[in-house]
């Protein structure tokens, strides 16, 4: 194992060296780095040209200049030596430019990766379990469509329809949903739900009716309380949702027959519900750190509760309890964010048009953590969606194919033959084995997503790493381009490495050598 890791690291460093050389030379030869000065008619243009040539060593041919860059960059990898990635054309060190740019990009890519994994895998599993149903065929078409939809088109469409549409609707003053949209939404949800159930026509018809009726009732209620102007889950809504989580999580992860798991989940739910009343005062003055500590405390308490209740299958009970505790307390936090919504949208900077289409935050907006959190949310919502769509389609297809493949294996038949319930067969035997190939694909995809962020950042005017790269490439500003390249290349290599390692850990049949 150790020799595998060492050899992989050496090979990665070699790969990185060669790739950085290619990148450096390609960028340096892409155009003339002096073009802006040569075109300018400033009186001191000649002086500036000379200065730039001297300070950036532009008189050295690029393949040789790369060694100079490498000498500085090597300092970043070893401790106690200065990290020098060169400067941009304005002589700002790249090491100053990168961290700010990277923060936005990492937030964007991390959020979309997580969302794409969750939704992609869930959709893929349902598609596979309902193979050739209307839902499956529909999702197949949707994923093909998303494959064929360039992210800049998705981004422009989101801006024009979702953002403008929602903002117009909200700021028009009359934010009721209206009869026809209500019916359309109910119809769509009903159709999706009946496709998910898949069974006799009668069963599907009943499901359709219930789902559609529930949707109409829900929308009518939201309308009546003017929810979109003053949203919030409220004590009753929270109770219902947490109850749903308690039963849903237990049913999927442990089965409702498992009394210990159900009791553990119920305790976790009750604790979160109690914290909703107890913590409102603390929330008003809290920071991100407070929430983080509270979250850790929740997990710790849930762990202890699960441990005590555990019995024979302690691990399972602990898992259920912790998942329920985490999801329920997320709801409590989400409710607090929703409480800040009226103050947010009515602030003069927002003026009832919350969904932003450019930038990372509203200029000149100030407020507590909740207001600023909402501001970040509304700014990153659309970029995150458009980036998620890129990988969502792929993950759905892989999850579907993976589960179908696994369900064909003999050990699944064995599991069924020994009388395990379908839930246990799917969650314990099939699901876990299905995840093995997905880890590799997700890790390999990180690089693609980072590249994709280039386009998303351009469309939404986010000054992340992609923007840094694009601006620098236009100016033939090699050092920032190389800084960007280093970050994404190292990330890609690291994640590929992690994928290989996790592959070996998850699947005992794989031996690393």
């Amino acid at each position: 194992m150790l020799s595998f890791i060492v050899r992989r690291i050496l090979a990665s460093i070699l790969t990185l060296l060669v790739a950085s050389f290619i990148m450096y030379v390609l960028t340096a030869y892409s155009d003339n780095p002096l073009k802006d000065l040569q075109a300018s008619n400033a009186p001191n243009a000649q002086l500036l040209i000379g200065q730039r040539i001297e300070r950036l060593d532009l008189d050295v041919p690029p393949p040789l200049r790369w060694f100079g860059w490498l000498a500085g960059a090597a300092g970043c990898l070893t401790p106690f030596t200065p990290c020098d990635l060169g400067t941009d054309l304005n002589y700002t060190p790249v090491t100053q430019l990168l961290p700010n740019a990277a923060a936005s990009t990492v937030r964007l890519v991390a959020a979309s990766t997580i969302l794409a994994i969750i939704f992609g895998i869930i959709t893929g599993i349902v598609s596979a379990l309902r193979q050739y149903s209307a839902f499956d065929l529909g999702m197949t078409f949707v994923s093909f469509f998303l494959y064929s939809l360039p992210s800049f088109l998705a981004a422009v469409l989101l801006k024009e329809f979702v953002a403008l549409g929602f903002n117009n609707w909200l700021s028009s003053g009359d934010s009721s949903i209206g009869l026809i949209p209500t019916l359309i939404i109910a119809l769509v949800i009903g159709v999706i739900m009946q496709a998910l159930v898949a069974g006799s026509n009668r069963k599907r018809l009943i499901t359709f009716a219930i789902a559609a009726a529930a949707t109409v009732g829900m929308l009518y209620y939201l309308d009546a309380v003017d929810w979109f102007q003053q949203p919030g889950l409220g004590a009753v809504g929270l109770l219902l949702l947490i109850g749903g989580i308690v039963f849903g999580a237990t049913a999927i992860m442990a089965g409702l027959n498992n009394r210990r798991a159900l009791i553990g989940a119920a305790i976790a739910g009750v604790l979160s519900y109690a914290s909703y009343f107890a913590l409102q005062g603390l929330f008003d003055i809290s920071t991100v750190w407070t929430i983080g500590i509270l979250g850790l405390a929740t997990l710790a308490v849930c762990f202890v509760v699960g441990w005590i209740l555990g019995g024979n299958d302690r691990g399972q009970v602990i898992r259920v309890t912790m998942v329920v505790g985490l999801l329920s307390s997320l709801l409590v936090v989400a409710d607090r964010y929703l409480q800040a919504w009226p103050a947010y949208i009515s602030s003069p900077r927002i003026n009832n048009r919350p969904i932003a289409t450019v930038g990372e935050q509203t200029v000149g907006l100030s407020g507590d953590m909740w207001i600023m959190g909402l501001d970040t949310f509304t700014h990153f919502l659309l970029p995150t969606i458009s980036l998620t769509l890129i990988s969502f389609a792929g993950y759905t297809r892989y999850a579907r194919a993976g589960l179908l493949e696994v369900m064909n294996q003999d050990y699944i038949r064995t599991a069924r033959a020994k009388g395990l319930s379908e839930r246990v067969v799917i969650t314990r035997h099939a699901f876990r084995n299905m995840l093995i190939p997905i880890t590799t694909i997700v890790a390999a995809d990180i690089g693609v997503l980072l590249g994709g962020a280039l386009i998303t950042e351009r469309v939404f005017a986010i000054s992340g790493m992609g923007a840094l790269f694009a601006v620098s490439l236009d100016r033939v500003d090699v050092n920032p381009v190389m800084g960007y390249f280093l970050v994404i290349a190292i990330t890609a290599i690291l994640f590929n490495f992690l994928a290989d390692l996790s592959y070996a850990l998850l699947d005992p049949r794989v031996r690393v050598k």
Partner: protein
């Protein structure tokens, strides 16, 4: 009498070659065949409208020079609703897709964009497929240090996201014209196919027919290209179709970012980029190129899916309900 019987038996038992079976499976796949016909139709239509090089096309407007007058404020003049339905009748009008801000005929521009994306698909996918297949085949066949060197080289190119290297290559070659852009992009898009072909070769090279060829005195090149490669064609063709679909998106994205095809030539991605700010006032300037990016990519994806099913029909044969209700059926299918 005996003669006739023999012919009948021969006809009945006449084996079908693997290629014929695959072709039959593909032709019977409705979605793929419809996609193929539509795709060819779109391309023939677009290319003949603009013409190739010095040969003029049948469309009477140029995609570069503005028309003398702006008709109906540049709105599309095409009408598809017949009179008996209360519409204006079916006709094309002077500028069926409208005109852009300076009055250039938008139908000509869009068709030129489709033509350019066709050139990119053919050249990019062609270069990438040939390069990837050769590299993968050589690496998988020879193994050892050749494999190690070639695969490390592949890693080097994989580390750089294609959009990034595309941007650099595009910035270098964008002004040269669409063919150079496509070929250079093909030079950096072969990695996926190389890995797939290598994996296929690693397993195929151990089979008996390779041994037989070697005993018969075939050279390495002959074994690779005449004996093993035909058996790996399925992987190559399916991967090539995926590259072709990705090529449309890559070219459009690069042109959108300003690194791909540059004015005065035009590209679908460039058109979206130039007109996205006019979305509220002239939405057709956005919708027509968007349509001709998404639809061909979608059609190619469907064709690729059909190809995959034709080459590897095993994937399709599983149904959870069937295995649960009729275990003996599942036995036969798997």
């Amino acid at each position: 009498m005996t003669n006739a019987t023999t012919t009948v038996t021969q006809e009945e038992t006449a084996g079908q070659s693997q290629g014929r079976l695959i072709l039959k499976r593909f032709v019977t796949n409705k979605a793929s065949m419809v996609s193929l016909v539509l795709l060819v139709a779109i391309w023939v239509f677009a290319i003949s409208a603009i013409g190739i090089g010095p040969i003029p096309g049948w469309w009477h407007h140029d995609y570069r020079t503005p028309s003398a007058s702006i008709v109906e404020g540049g709105r599309p003049t095409v009408s598809l609703i017949p009179e008996w339905l209360g519409g204006a009748g079916i006709y094309l009008g002077e500028h069926p897709f409208g005109q852009n801000r300076i009055g250039v005929d938008y139908f000509a521009q869009t068709m030129r964009g489709v033509q350019n994306s066709f050139v990119v698909i053919v050249l990019l996918a062609g270069v990438a497929t040939v390069l990837g297949t050769v590299i993968g085949a050589v690496a998988g066949y020879y193994r050892g240090w050749v494999d190690a060197v070639l695969m490390r080289m592949t890693d080097v190119f994989i580390v750089i996201p294609s959009i990034v290297v595309g941007a650099v290559v595009g910035a270098m070659t964008g002004g040269l014209g669409v063919q150079y852009l496509a070929i250079f992009l093909g030079l950096v898009a072969w990695m996926g196919i190389a890995r797939l072909v290598r994996a296929e070769f690693l397993s195929l090279r151990e089979r008996e027919f390779v041994e037989a060829a070697r005993v018969a005195g075939a050279s390495d090149a002959r074994i690779i290209f005449k004996h093993i490669l035909p058996n790996a064609m399925g992987v190559v063709i399916v991967a090539a179709s995926l590259i072709a679909a990705a090529a449309i998106i890559l070219e459009a994205s690069l042109s959108f970012l300003g690194y791909g095809i540059l004015p005065p030539d035009t590209s679908l991605g460039l058109q979206v980029s130039q007109n996205q700010s006019a979305f509220a006032t002239r939405p057709w300037l956005f919708w027509f190129p968007a349509f001709f990016i998404v639809v061909p990519a979608l059609l190619i994806n469907f064709i690729g899916d059909g190809l995959r099913d034709a080459f590897d029909p095993r994937q399709k044969r599983f149904s959870i309900r069937r295995t649960k209700e009729l275990p003996e059926n599942a036995e036969q299918r798997s």
